[in-house]
Point group: D2
Chain length 326, copies 4
């Protein structure tokens, strides 16, 4: 039984707390949040302890592993402190919005990288796992083209966007990781933004074209809003065939009438519903890695790599030129 503390009792922290409760191999040992109200609420509904002092987590001998679900600016501190106190760490993405801070973090945890996992939850989606395995099995041959469509149902608040690092570091970063997951390292990034929001100075939509070192060409289509829900599709094409993942709907019911046929409910609304299974599978992969002592995947270097691609996208969108990755 792995004793797990969750740092952060906000929306995503609660998702992780529930995953820990439901996992047969973990115990929710402690919930920490600077807000005692939030920490207590989550802990009490789970019948466990809470603290509003995050350092309590690292000092607690009963805690084996930490889930870092604090606000992004605290991620690096909590990762480093967790590793320093001998605990395994599962951190929410992004590691940080500043590549130099990520590099400093990597420096500080050198030798313990295998104790840290980054929560790119989509890698654990059953459909993406199926696509990956079938790509590795050769079902499409050598991958030639990848198209990732990723549109959120509606944009976050201007305040959130202002501190998000912009669409490429906040939203596209998941898709950049997906491209790396499916075709490996990226050689060049070309990004085009549109729908510039005058308030935040950030694009609400973008298209990225990435050339992989393998020769594959990946396209990412992003939007911060989509009328019919959370649009999450992936298509992988090679000389032998194509794999594609469609959107999920709440039920398999369709409705036909005099005006139409096969009308279905909108796609599931957002990531908590769409990737509920993935969060549980992510925790399970983390628990297995801790048990076996193997490095969990994706690791902190994967977090860095995705952020680097996002930085390249920022530069490309500003200049209209393809940017070579380092």
């Amino acid at each position: 039984m792995l004793n797990v503390a969750v740092i952060g009792a906000g929306r995503i922290g609660r998702v992780h707390a529930r995953s820990v409760l439901a996992h047969p191999g973990t115990r929710l040992a402690l919930v920490a949040d600077a807000s005692p109200v939030a920490a207590r609420e989550v802990a009490e509904s789970a019948g466990t302890r809470w603290t509003d002092q995050v350092d309590d987590v690292f000092a607690d001998d009963q805690v084996d592993a930490v889930v870092v679900a604090s606000p992004t600016p605290f991620h690096v501190d909590h990762i480093v402190a967790g590793v320093a106190s001998g605990k395994a760490v599962l951190t929410e993405k992004p590691v940080d919005l500043d590549l130099r801070r990520v590099d400093a973090c990597l420096e500080q945890i050198r030798g313990s990288e295998h104790r840290v996992m980054v929560g790119f939850n989509r890698r654990f989606d059953a459909g993406i796992q199926e696509i990956r395995q079938r790509v590795l099995a050769g079902d499409v041959g050598e991958v030639e083209q990848v198209v990732v469509t990723s549109r959120d149902p509606s944009p976050p608040s201007p305040e959130y966007i202002a501190s998000s690092g912009g669409i490429f570091r906040d939203m596209t970063i998941h898709d950049l990781d997906m491209v790396r997951f499916l075709v490996g390292e990226v050689a060049t990034v070309q990004a085009t933004g549109h729908q510039l929001d005058p308030v935040t100075g950030d694009h609400h939509g973008a298209v990225l074209v990435l050339t992989a070192r393998s020769g594959a060409l990946a396209t990412i289509v992003n939007s911060r809003h989509n009328a019919s829900g959370y649009d999450q599709r992936v298509e992988v094409v090679g000389p032998r065939g194509a794999l594609s993942q469609a959107n999920h709907r709440p039920t398999a019911v369709s409705y036909s009438s005099a005006e139409f046929s096969d009308r279905q409910r909108p796609w599931v609304n957002f990531f908590l519903e769409r990737y509920a299974q993935a969060y549980a599978a992510e925790l399970d992969a983390f628990v297995r890695a801790v048990r076996t002592g193997e490095a969990p995947s994706p690791g902190i270097a994967d977090g860095r790599a995705a952020l680097l691609l996002a930085d390249c996208a920022v530069r490309s969108a500003a200049t209209g030129r393809a940017v070579a990755v380092e």
Copy 2:
């Protein structure tokens, strides 16, 4: 080049006239209809001759083959006269609504059955052809269950229904032929009607359960109306798998919005649109049979067999008992 006369210049006669015009191996030699207005209209738009005396067709040495698209009560006379005058005959279904007249017809054309084809157009639908061929190829194994769903977009007029022979002889007869086409001869028929129309005394909906001699169980679900268009589906299940044919839509466009996803236009409206390809393929099969001298399929015995099943359905619906076929 096969010289073809079309008897009947109504809706279905015009379909056949167009098929004859479009077929590279046929020439539309003559159009006959008791109404000179109708006959002339069809003939002139096709640049061919017309007559309002049907007997002219049988006396015409330039006519090699006849398509019988006259009203049902005239089918037998026109089949018999066509065969007697040495012409090949493609007749619309049903051969007749009275099994005794069909038997009399068979008696009169004895020895020339191979010169007559019955227009069960659905057998020539590309999807049904694919299902049949894959069933014969063993894709599902020995067929165990067949489900035919057949719903018209809207009912014909009460006048039409009054002379139609009722839902089983008029509408279900296509589905009965489909069951025979897919699983062979039928041993028992059980029929249940509902939505009795007080004006016509006919059911607007029905379900039939047929046991085939092979042991397969076939179900037919019928309705004279369907809000979203012409509902034409077939499912064939065996121990190794299942084949199913979905409905056709005018385009492959779907529309998603805040209220729904993947809404599509209604299914194609009715048989002329849905089975346009099938009418052309039916004529082609007839032309090939005439050329080779082989008996066309389905033949007049198939028309009789489907009518016999319809008669059994009428009796079963009236008594609530399964009826053994002869």
Copy 3:
């Protein structure tokens, strides 16, 4: 917090035990099974108590409610004892295979019917709930036709079938309840079986046609085996439109190659996977009913009604006649 005991530590008892564990308003208080090994295994993995004496459940003051997941012949005894000891009861279906025993049970619990719920899990499937609500909202108009397709992936053992009461009482009973759930009371039942198993004397396939008192016509297509998995579809048609529920697949991934397009993985294999959400929702409905004191639905009278229809189906299949219900 509702303290729940689960009687029966077999496959379905374990499903219920997990639902009780996961439900925020329930506590798994006790696990009972005549096999101490099974009872202990389930209880220990859940951190709760166990007994191999079922009577302990009824004597236990800490138990508020009982889930009856014992073998079918014990259901009535456990329902009656549960009610007599003041506990709310959620019982697996069927109440019993013998209508007289069900009637005796109803007699014994008279006045406490509102304390007993019958586990027709499919009623709680999110898709079926959606269809029901939309039917009640008038989306299809007055229901005219219902088609329930229900095929298991593979048959149970001959031993199981021998004690199952036959396909109609064991398997079709779910579909009979579904018809009642969607169109209300049934007036006549016509059943046709096929694929008679010489070992068990039971049919492996069947089609039922039911006329509802409302005039609707319902068709049930059953098979004990289906190559591509658990085939669970429902179609409801009325004058204004049609609602249909498609099968579920493990992921939304499809694969295209030179030989085909849009190939998908088989449907989810069987009821534990397909209706996982429904078991949780069923428990939730039970908990809410116990809390509010309202009668849970479906109640034991619904269990009786479905069994009565199954009995009618047995008689119809034997005689080839439609059977009037009561």
Copy 4:
């Protein structure tokens, strides 16, 4: 009745000849091809005249309109000669591979532009027409993103590619026209090629990102090969919803077995099958324009505009920079 001559008796010329034969308002008056064998074959099967002297077409008083289906280098000559001889012209795309020659052509036919239509057949596809009309009707709101997926089943011969002008001028040009058809004029083009063929020096795959003057962002994904057939999809997204066109299949039959569900046949193989309806609708639009005297659409200026975008794509792919259009 419009008397039409077809110049070019190759693959696409034969398609046009068949369309002219089938159209109720046109007569195939003459077939011209430098190869007398080809010209005669097409003409004789259609019962019409032929010539191996293309100038005969322009001198023929019985010819009202000309379909130019000659090899690309002859297009401009035949357009100019057709217009000069007073005939309406429907020309295959591209007008020419050299923008200067297109400009010279425009100069020579000045004042008669309304007599020339360019055969961007996809504009006449029923699905694209539906999308266009619904976009104009406001179904998606102001268009924000367009994604055009266009993959051929297999590449043409190296010889063909060598004279094709390259993937952008030969293949992408259709998709560039589609973008203009759906979102209007394009402001910038960014193109990335991959799968460079060492023999031809041409890319076998490419992705283009175009910003429209409207602010919309359009993405084109191209490949010269696709295992499961001709991949032709369009997606149009706006704030109110999304319209998308799926691929076509030969039938609506699907097959499920123990290994998979809903496997379907590959998509229709190539443009002659996929756009058969579009070629007929294109001719019909041309005939109507000739009759009414209105300028047909798309006109030769549309042909020029698409070629200009292709030229921009060539430059962008070579430099890695977004190219402003003019």
